[in-house]
Symmetry: C2
DNA sequence: CGGCTCATGTAATTCGTTACATGATTCT
DNA sequence: AGAATCATGTAACGAATTACATGAGCCG
């Protein structure tokens, strides 16, 4: 069948329970966005394609007086989801601008510190968000979402610790007088 | 000026020493690809744009008898690189298909194990590659590339440990005939 | 009444990959 | 001679984001 991963996000979420495109979007924003985001520009066209392929089925289920189409998995859709899950995932290389700046920071050493601080801030914020999600995931009927939340938390904790360690070293070094860098600049 | 990150990869590498497009590509493949890949389809057009913008300068430097254009940073290019480095990086959410499958694996629990194993394999392989690079980076004149290599190594080691831990739990549970988890549910 | 949220969608643009095309030179 | 590598590029395609467009119901 060869659908893209984003299509399987939709199939996977509809496996939990029937939803509208709007609900899929907000669900994604609360959960999978940490490792797989999706925008309306993907979701609505994809819903149409999946429906045409017979993997999902949409029925009009207005909420209050608002028009609303609720989609649910068909038997074929469930089968497609399962067979995709059984194939080993390809883990793709991600782009990390902070690491890129860190890598190139010999041209401007204070930028290395800035990059690490930014990475730390990012993980600290992510950690906060995940800690809010975690108990919800734990209480849910499925175990794997909780597992993934745990992964995210442990990962961010690890990253923060690493940043702190290296930042301490770097700061000590850059503030040491014998280094030949420009005057120590303190940024916001 | 507002160039894309890939343009700064080029500026950053040319800051190390003058290079041809071909050399930039192979340099990227040996180093930054772990956090920022680049293809010929980006590199050559970008070299042209950067040259037009006056940030780099290309001169014909045939190697042997092969035509070859070597690019070097101009003063403006160096300045542009520095000012970009000083801006806090935006850390972008990456896409991780293994985590996605793990998240959705309640529809097919063995797939969760498969996903974790794939993630582990990926990190094990990356670790091997990084361990080859590390001593080279350490020996080099710049400290930050080495720092980034260390990050990659520590990160993969952490990820492998996490996968192993969770895999052990999952395997124990799935092979146990009766666990206290909710009775085997049929989907939906 | 006015702003927020629910709800659905499209068009333009950006960014990047893959495949192709070409050709010279060096190595075995 | 033939394969591998050096070297430069383009065209087609793909995936995703952003911005825009529209409208209705809900809440204070």
């Amino acid at each position: 069948m060869e659908l893209k991963s984003t299509a399987y996000v939709i199939l996977g979420l509809l496996h939990l329970h029937p939803m509208s495109g709007y609900e899929i979007k907000s669900f994604v924003d609360r959960t999978t966005r940490f490792f797989w985001a999706a925008s309306y520009g993907q979701i609505y066209p994809e819903l149409r394609r999946l429906a045409e392929a017979g993997l999902i089925e949409g029925t009009s289920k207005p909420s209050g007086g608002r028009r609303r189409v609720e989609y649910r998995l068909t038997a074929a859709g469930r089968k497609e989801l399962r067979s995709w899950l059984q194939v080993a995932p390809e883990v793709n290389e991600s782009r990390d601008e902070a690491l890129l700046k860190l890598f190139l920071a010999d041209a401007e050493p204070e930028a290395g510190i800035e990059a690490l601080e930014a990475k730390r801030r990012f993980h600290a914020e992510k950690l906060e968000q995940l800690r809010e999600i975690e108990p919800v995931a734990k209480a849910g009927p499925n175990r794997f979402p909780y597992l993934v939340a745990s992964y995210g938390i442990a990962h961010s904790e690890w990253a923060i610790a690493w940043c702190d360690e290296v930042l301490a070293e770097l700061r000590a070094e850059l503030s040491a007088p014998q280094t030949k860098t420009k005057a120590p600049r303190r940024s916001a």
